[in-house]
Symmetry: C3
């Protein structure tokens, strides 16, 4: 959770951190300084962490964090060095605290820091079109092209030999070398993650990035959302066709080929050398193995092991699908 | 059908109104002035109305309109105060007459009235990006943001505390307060409504609006078409993910959550507290109840009563779908 | 394969043409000048052609080309006037040679030739918005409108009475008369065609066009890719709704109606008077007859004969589909 792009507003005193949570707290802790909010594994003794599901109890037992947002049912799993802060809904409370440390990660208003590339140092090293805007904290490598009306918003790093087309909007994104992005893409906006609350939903922070590895191609009209607590990753030499939607925290392997209008829901992990046909949809939190082939139009709602070919809705072995649908 | 945005070119004489319809008419009526074309219920004695389906006969019996476009088979349902104008195709004739009253509602050319926000009074009250354009008949409330390259075309009203991202195009739309629209959306264009005619289809008028209620969020790449004779409505605190298509006359309730790449066809009505999974499609003219859950990838082709969970194509009870597809 | 838009860099000597193919060649041919690469039928004696599948053997027998890229198994079909150049993978080799003749057809970087319409002769004959850019080799007929931020990139011909909306990007496209293109479309980019190679896919050339015939309408957010070796064609008076994806080499007939979010994969041929419901998908290399109706959400994976109504995934006779899914 250490973060290259979102400014950590810590350290904050514990009293400030838990103010919104309505927790009674021994007065001896309230001035303790908390540096960051991190997951169970990466926390240090200066951090606060969170523990919301029994699945993670082995990590919980070993956490180095001094404080942990958790429930009554789970708190016994924590080690002695870690004080449980018991709340009703761990994720809502974690969201509230992350918002304190990273207030800029909640809402994605337009980037007011973006100004004409002609007013920046990039004007001499980048080949660019009309009306290109560049935000703060942007780096661009050598031999790059940036097309007309494209907005490289804040917190973007672009490698060497990249071709970015026209009308794109990119923020909070690491683009490696030899990457090609066509036109009309929106990359790095927050994902569709929030707590549904009547009359006023509550967004949770998205402090992750989008990472696009070497030699990828992204087709026209893509939307690729940045991660919430982890990153959204497009692996090396993976090609995306037009009108594809990649939700937050998705990770795609190398040499994968994804045809038009495919959608991949949040936190799913796609292997390497995978082929996905047009308009297929993949539900959230799934694991798709390496060398998998998914037929066009499929709806994938379960994990798929390596090397399997599937088709259908819900997706099943492709031979079975075709036999049943002669 | 009273209309805040499209200028009514009436009153028109009846002879002018029915000129294109090839109707023989008692000469005593031909100079009668007609103020507007409205539906059976809202018409007054100065208006012309239309009646094309037996479904509406109870409304027809009580209409206050002095003239009604209808068929030979239906005309007997009309009250004495209302003269039947018998045509072969009621909707084509209604379309032709609406075009006379609202000629600007047929074709959506680019808005030639739009000019730089720097040349308008908004420059001092709105936080805005580069290259923002504003058309005529636009109002914007307090504390609003409008991102780079966004075009607020003619006939748009934006409330307070709204955040409009970059590269959006919006026309004929009422946006209430605390609404967030991300990037690359096209909102308020005419719907996909026309009479198919060989070699030259005939568009029918779209004099409705898009209305986006308080605290909504609209994701990247949305297309939301304005209504034809009624409005397209997104209810309070409803959230739309990326790449969603909402067709003309659709009405969505409050607190509804719609995931990426969903499409809702024309005139369907979606309840409140509904959840719709990614890539689901909903056919036109359907009624989806409150608290309904629709699984990702579903194709909904029938009405769904309140509180039901469905999945599949065609969508059915989700338990049945999962049992059949273990 | 004669091409109005992509410059042919021929003639090239045969030794140059086959340099990358590792072919041993009688020295008497190596200085022979090759004018172009064409298909078996249209080649003349100055051209090189390619023959990769037994399906085309009747064309191969009659080709006028002097040289032909082919395989050991197929070479016997060629006539005496045509020398076989035997390679392992005909399409990869053809791609490499086409790249030599048409190097600009491989990568679609942003159009550096585009400049403000105010600096062109079009400023007096076209009605245009703010920030409109025009590339080289563009023609525009009379009474046309081009909306704000639209980029007419290089190699575009627009007929009379066309209305192009805002935020569009168009290249390598012939638009006939009375065509309406709404907003946010990307038309004429290369298709999703490449040879998958580990760590570095190899794109093949796209020297085809997009052709949009008279009186078509293209909705918001469309992506229509140009052809690779043939053209992508939208027939007369065909209407496309919003968010439609048309892949390379697709040919659509006249008076066809395609609803929102439909996707048509590469090289499929759609007839005239066809109706396609929302979110339907059509696989590549299929033939859909005239007067066909395809229900919303369908996944079409087989050819469909004239006059048939289908629905489902995979699509089948609509009556059967509805009976099975009561």
């Amino acid at each position: 959770m250490s973060n290259p792009f979102f400014k950590n507003h810590g350290p904050l005193t514990l009293s400030k951190v838990i103010k919104s949570l309505n927790i009674n707290m021994d007065v001896k802790y309230i001035d303790k300084e908390i540096h960051d909010i991190k997951d169970l594994v990466s926390s240090t003794e200066n951090d606060i962490t969170f523990f919301h599901s029994k699945k993670y109890k082995d990590f919980a037992k070993k956490t180095k964090a001094s404080f942990c947002i958790t429930t009554n049912a789970l708190k016994a799993e924590l080690p002695q060095n870690c004080l449980a802060l018991v709340v009703e809904n761990v994720l809502v409370s974690t969201s509230a605290i992350t918002t304190l440390f990273y207030p800029e990660s909640i809402n994605d208003n337009f980037d007011e820091t973006a100004s004409s590339i002609n007013d920046t140092n990039f004007k001499d090293k980048v080949s660019f079109g009309k009306n290109v805007l560049i935000g703060k904290n942007v780096s661009i490598g050598k031999n790059c092209k940036i097309g007309h009306n494209t907005i490289i918003e804040k917190n973007v790093s672009i490698g060497d030999y990249c071709s970015i087309g026209s009308n794109n909007i990119i923020r909070n994104t690491l683009i490696k070398n030899n990457v090609r992005i066509l036109d009309n893409c929106t990359i790095g906006k927050h994902g569709f993650g929030f707590f549904p609350i009547k009359n006023k939903n509550s967004r949770y922070p998205h402090i992750g990035l989008v990472i696009i590895e070497d030699s990828c191609e992204v087709g026209c009209g893509a939307t690729i959302d940045r991660g919430s607590m982890s990153n959204t990753v497009i692996g090396k030499n993976t090609y995306l066709d037009n009108q594809i939607h990649i939700a937050h925290n998705v990770k795609i392997g190398e040499n994968t080929i994804i045809a038009g209008q495919v959608g991949i829901a949040g936190s799913s992990i796609i292997g390497s050398n995978v082929k996905i046909g047009g308009q297929a949809g993949i539900s959230g939190h799934l694991k798709i193995g390496n060398n998998v082939e998914i037929g066009g139009g499929s709806g994938v709602i379960r994990d798929i092991p390596d090397n399997m070919k599937v088709m259908g809705y819900p997706a099943k072995n492709i031979r079975e699908f075709l036999r049943e649908n002669k």
